[in-house]
Amino acid sequence: MRTLNCKRAARMISLYVAGDLVGAPEREVAAHLAACDGCRRLAEEFSESRSLLTEACASPEFGAEFYAGIRHAVLGEIASDQMLAKPSLFRPRWLYATAFAAVIIVSGVILQHFVSNRRQSTDVPPVTVQSTSQPSEVPSPRKKHEPGGAPGAQASKDPALANPHGSSRHFAEARQPDALLSQAALLSAAQIEPASQASTSLGPVALETSSQISRIEIQTADPNIRIIWLSPQESREPDGTKHDQDHPETGNRK
């Protein structure tokens, strides 16, 4: 066992008095204190100051109400936090989030619609349907069976069959083949009356009617594709009913 000098022992005395030293260091300090009066006095002062500190900082009795108040406050805070954390559609945060999502979705739909409209308008030229027949001669299919109905008045009620330019009929811009087909079907359903002045193909789309067959030609955006719609003339039954037998066909014409 080595012997300590006073300087080194003084640094260890504060640990020694509290029992923080074990083993050889503890024995060395004990041996030095047994031999050195000055260091022994120092150890006594450390012990005294330690007991004074313990005395001065003795924890007071806070009482049951003090602790209950702490628990109450903590549990109340936890409960309120958990209530706030519950997701609900009626909480403002979720309400704002839902409204924001709805705005985004609606904006997206509107934007997509706008972009697709612009693309169509730039890609496909307008298609017109022309006919030499008078508008008054093309009655509305719904009004067809009405006895005594005025064909002219019926045609003027149908916006699709309205004739803003007299003899030629311009339909609303139908820029896709599907739209053209639907237009042709509309015309076919319109049961165009066979007229002596059968229409001829004057434009990209033409209507032809003969005494036996109604012929509709529709020119699509592709110049090589023309849709020809042949519709047999309606046969009127004595009771006023009719039977439609449409035979659409499509073909390529160079």
Partner: protein
């Protein structure tokens, strides 16, 4: 209405817990398994289990906070903050770890935060009520009941507490846990997240500073007599 119901539920839980706590033997309250079960239940959202944890540890937490901050109100606020922080970070507590060591580390950190908010020096005066209680306790002791001596003792104790408050935060925490709370050096090291050698160094330095204060007091006392 919901708040009233919540308050009633808390009170009922408290009554139940207090009864249950009294039925538990002291050894089981002190055991690590006791906290392991309670922590697992509290993590699953059991508020009653969390209140049991508070009941089992609140005195020590408040005591540490009071010694660290030197003020009754600050100690109460700090204790509330400690338990809210414990509840918030209960999910991060690793199973098998010493729960009380983790809890005391949070307590020390909260006290450091409080002291930092109070001011850079960390010097806070013990409030008058605590001071008088301490004085009353000393009065019943072996010391004389002479008013002049009592006043001198009060001054002594106040200065020692001020000395504790004036220590650097880490030294103060080490000294409070080791000398006042009676933790072992290893427990203090665990609570402070440092090594035992560091704790010994901090404790030694803190004791030397406190002794210097006490020496000054002794000299003043001798001069007064």
């Amino acid at each position: 209405m919901e708040v009233v119901k919540g308050t009633m539920a808390v009170e009922m839980a408290h009554i139940f817990l207090t009864d249950a706590q009294e039925m538990l033997p002291p050894a089981s309250v002190e055991s690590a398994d006791y906290f392991t079960v309670l922590v697992a239940r509290a993590r699953a959202g059991d508020e009653i289990a969390f209140e049991r944890i508070m009941l089992a540890t609140e005195q020590r937490v408040v005591s540490i906070a009071w010694r660290m901050l030197g003020n009754r109100d600050d100690a109460r606020d700090a204790a509330q903050d400690v338990y809210l922080r414990v509840f918030k970070y209960l999910g991060r507590f690793r199973a098998g770890e010493d729960f009380r060591g983790w809890l005391y580390r949070i307590t020390i950190n909260v006290c450091h935060d409080f002291a930092r908010k109070k001011g850079a020096t960390g010097l806070t005066q013990f409030d008058q009520i605590d001071f008088m209680q301490e004085s009353a306790a000393l009065e019943t002791g072996s010391r004389s009941a002479d008013p002049e001596s009592l006043a001198l003792q009060e001054q002594q104790l106040a200065l020692i507490r001020s000395a504790l408050q004036s220590l650097p935060p880490k030294e103060r925490a080490a000294l409070v846990l080791r000398d006042l709370e009676g933790f072992s050096t290893e427990e203090v090291a665990h609570a402070l997240g440092s090594r035992p050698v560091t704790v010994r160094s901090q404790v030694s330095s803190a004791r030397a500073k406190i002794k210097t204060y006490c020496d000054k007091l002794s000299r003043r006392k001798g001069a007064a007599q």
